[in-house]
Symmetry: C2
Subunit: 543 residues, 2 copies
């Protein structure tokens, strides 16, 4: 049996686009004499559709799309991910399902059993889990069709009381198909290969795995669809971060002896963030980005990633010096814009800053300068950038990193402005690592930007290290608290100073209110700020 893997970039709710892409894949599969073409989880509507699943009309559009796809499935069959109604009068109204389209109609329906409801996933919000599983019968073969999480219930501590494969295996299937919506994070691929390999070996069956590619707001899907032999070794591997298509003959699988070339983590992160920017703009119908260049490393990195994603000709930078800006902040920024070939303007914030000082002189008379004046500068810059977006149709890229978002070292409505946070899921030390990766062959980001001490330049001789521990130290504490959810005492016992640990944890907790108002953050870690981390704002824990 010849099976086509269709790895497409869908757009949530864009039924005409998604259907067109799927019809093209069906035609391509037919031209390649495939028997069956496999699409990703919920391909019809895009993943995640989120609360659109509560709209009947949205679900009708899913049905209409399936009808259109079915019509094309003559002389070929397709496995298509789509939400379908639960016909019983109990339970959630929908299943997260896949349909087998054959002979111009829906032949069989399979529902997902295991519904991830953690981190960024909300599937039990919408879907009823399938209570039992049956194989698909197709051209004399039996297919164990599973949907993403259905294969992930392995290991000593299992999240779900049963695994659908343990039921499906009783029917002696010929192979497993797994349709997925498995987002990228830095170490996801290793886990994915482990999980799929374990299943192949445990059940002694080959696996056809089809994933999404493309970004949906903060979630970035990396593709890497594949076929594994029953020994768990990869036979076919589709591209990462690109649409791709392949046809495999399931009767003639030969294990590739060459392992996949190991990837530099920063190569993947660079590709992921580039795709994240591209799809945010492309799917919203925008082309041009603006950002503020401070002379620091965060904005420099975002400028490079934006130019990679959208083309240098679509990036405009604002350099907005103040009385506290160092000479090198402008010089370094100018060197950067020259290196990457983006346009720029230089606008002093002095006039606006003086106007606020005048306006506020009377009510604030006798009060000492404090964070107010620093925030004013940051907010004036945010306002100038937003004025450009309004006047000229840019989207503002936010340049906050994960370390500063974590401890609230940023100004709400100032440097926290933007339509999309590009590096908000990279700790400062990872920002440095990614810059070094970008500079691996030649100096794209001026060396001085990377080596000078980080500073917000909002008061004379300010350095980040005046307010925060060194980033090497800070990031380790943050990782232990945010990613690993360690207790204060655990972190202290690991050798970090109690006073620093307590300060950092308090800062993280008391700044939930700021993170509540950040733009969506492209997710590349196992625990990003945003939809996958849901904390109360009004809480007292550790603060």
């Amino acid at each position: 049996m010849r099976i086509a893997l269709a790895q497409n970039n869908y757009h949530t709710g864009n039924f005409s686009l998604n259907t067109e892409k799927m019809l093209a894949s069906i035609a391509q599969a037919k031209a390649g004499e495939a028997d069956l073409v496999v699409f990703a989880e919920l391909a019809v509507c895009g993943y995640p559709p989120r609360d659109f699943l509560e709209f009947e009309h949205f679900l009708q559009l899913c049905e209409t799309a399936v009808d259109r796809l079915a019509t094309a499935c003559v002389g070929i069959a397709a496995i298509v991910g789509v939400p379908v109604y639960n016909q019983l009068n109990q339970g959630k109204k929908l299943y997260n399902a896949a349909v087998l389209l054959e002979d111009g109609r829906v032949k069989q329906v399979v529902a997902k059993s295991l519904l991830p409801t953690y981190d960024v996933f909300d599937e039990y919000r919408y879907f009823e889990p399938a209570k039992s599983s049956r194989v698909l019968h197709f051209k004399g073969q039996k297919i164990a069709l599973t949907i993403c999480e259905d294969l992930w219930n392995i290991g000593q501590y299992t999240l779900y009381p049963h695994s659908p494969m343990d039921e499906l295996i009783l029917e002696k299937p010929d192979f497993i198909v797994n349709i997925a919506a498995s987002p990228f994070s830095a170490h996801q691929q290793a886990e994915r290969l482990y999980v799929l390999g374990e299943n192949a070996r445990k059940y002694q069956l080959p696996i056809v795995y089809v994933n999404h590619i493309g970004a949906q707001t903060e979630l970035i899907f990396d593709g890497k669809s594949m076929v594994l032999g029953k020994d768990g070794a990869s036979v076919v591997q589709l591209k990462k971060f690109e649409e791709d298509f392949a046809i495999v003959d399931m009767g003639a699988l030969t294990t590739k002896t060459t392992a996949l070339a190991p990837t530099h983590t920063m190569e993947d992160i660079s590709a992921a963030l580039t795709l994240g920017i591209q799809d945010y703009f492309g799917k919203l119908g925008f082309k041009k980005a603006i950002l503020g260049l401070s002379g620091g490393i965060d904005s420099a990195l975002v400028a490079v990633l934006a130019a990679q994603a959208l083309g240098a000709e679509n990036i405009h930078c604002l350099l907005m010096p103040s009385r506290y800006s160092s000479d090198h902040s402008i010089a370094d920024s100018l060197a950067l814009v020259k290196n990457i070939g983006v346009s720029y303007d230089i606008l002093s914030i002095e006039k606006a800053f003086e106007a606020y000082e005048t306006t506020l002189a009377e009510p604030f008379s006798g009060l000492a300068a404090n964070i107010t004046e620093e925030n004013l500068q940051s907010r004036i810059r945010g306002m100038l950038l937003m004025a450009y977006t309004n006047k000229l149709g840019y989207i503002l890229l936010n340049t906050s990193n994960k370390s500063e978002l974590a401890v609230g070292y940023g100004t709400l409505y100032g440097d926290m402005c933007g339509g999309l946070s590009v590096i908000g899921d990279l700790y400062k030390t990872e920002v440095f690592a990614l810059c070094r990766y970008i500079n691996r062959e030649k100096e794209i980001i001026p060396d001085n930007i990377i080596t000078k001490p980080p500073s917000a330049e909002l008061r004379p001789d300010q350095k980040d290290s005046d307010s925060l521990p060194d980033y090497e130290l800070l990031d380790q504490i943050l990782f232990r608290y945010i990613e690993e959810r360690q207790a204060p005492v655990q972190i202290i016992e690991a050798g970090f100073a109690a006073e620093v640990v307590q300060k950092v944890m308090r800062l993280v907790n008391m700044n939930e209110y700021k993170r509540h108002q950040t733009p969506p953050i492209l997710r590349v870690s196992i625990k990003a700020f945003g939809m996958g981390r849901r904390m109360p704002i009004v809480a007292k824990y550790l603060s």
Copy 2:
């Protein structure tokens, strides 16, 4: 058997405060010769604890608190809501549970079976559902202990495949206890009475119902704990929007023949929003609020609610006229501040506006005035307000209403600034209704503010109706789309112009990016923007 109902205002993660309150209730119950005191769902840690439940240390603090409460339970028993570990090696790690504390220790544990995972609820994100249910044995009586949703699986279309009461009733319990975390919304009380009444009548058992009171960020709990007779009629009803305590003798329940006085919806909404402000400030350790008064109805209403909540002496208003401000905008605002007794400053935004015009003159030369200049004015006001918060320790109250949030008729980083959105879950027509309610006895909000046509006053002679349908019309379309999730064709068939319907729905969808960055919104409706409505930003549906 004498049972005490302890209706307390908890603070998420504030274990010392919560435990002290519960110890005081135990002492009060003991003094009142109660046999058993009942606390609300997850009282120990506050509801909702959200992702704090993923922190082992947080759970240890829950256990420590229970140990402390248990020590006090000698000569009296308590039912205490708390997360407990699932001891099996499969499933979610926790149960949403209640423990019976007696003789100084945990005597029995009951876990919640039905886990709401919809709207604002995420319980299956954290908890394993109980597979079976057993009654509590206490002083020779059998108690069917249920946790909130456990009683809500009624009606023709049930969300869950079983109801724990159907299993518990087989043990012939003497009465039902339901501990809840049931947030307020305008029509919640009617549904709650219906659900509890149905259960009482179906199982022919009295019900002791204990709910939270108090606001946790956007969720407002209204209390209204109660005891119902087996006929479903209310016997005892605790206060709404206040802490309360009562002891009932279960052997001598007499149905009150007098029905509860019917409540004006706006009375409840006013009380809910007042409590929402109070707890947001109090639990964060703040006292003073600032807001911008535009002369319009939204900011006037927020000023009144803030003064109700925090005291007029803690409210400061900024009046920030521009070249486009009408004469009446200042006069009306001054009349309001005089009526309610709050302090104010008048700050012209002209200087700052001119500074931006000068700064942007060159890059924007030759470009026509557009939304940019309107947004600049709104953002200058936001910056001045934020400067006050930074300099003087206020929290800024946001004054956006639900209609404008829905269609994006507001400026990000301008009038959308703030720490808390007070009326973001009230449609404009509800804002008018609440103002009329507030003025029911005397003119608190100057009549001219209520009767003049709404305007943002960001350009000459601007009216909201230049850009938007009349609010009477707009709000009906919005309610059908947002609360009722109707399809375009349904709304059009109900008699609304197709062009208007399509424009409104498109505006709602394309402004998800703005709502992503709003402050938390006090929830008073069945579908508020925020944690209970999760939509993709990058989507194409209907737009």
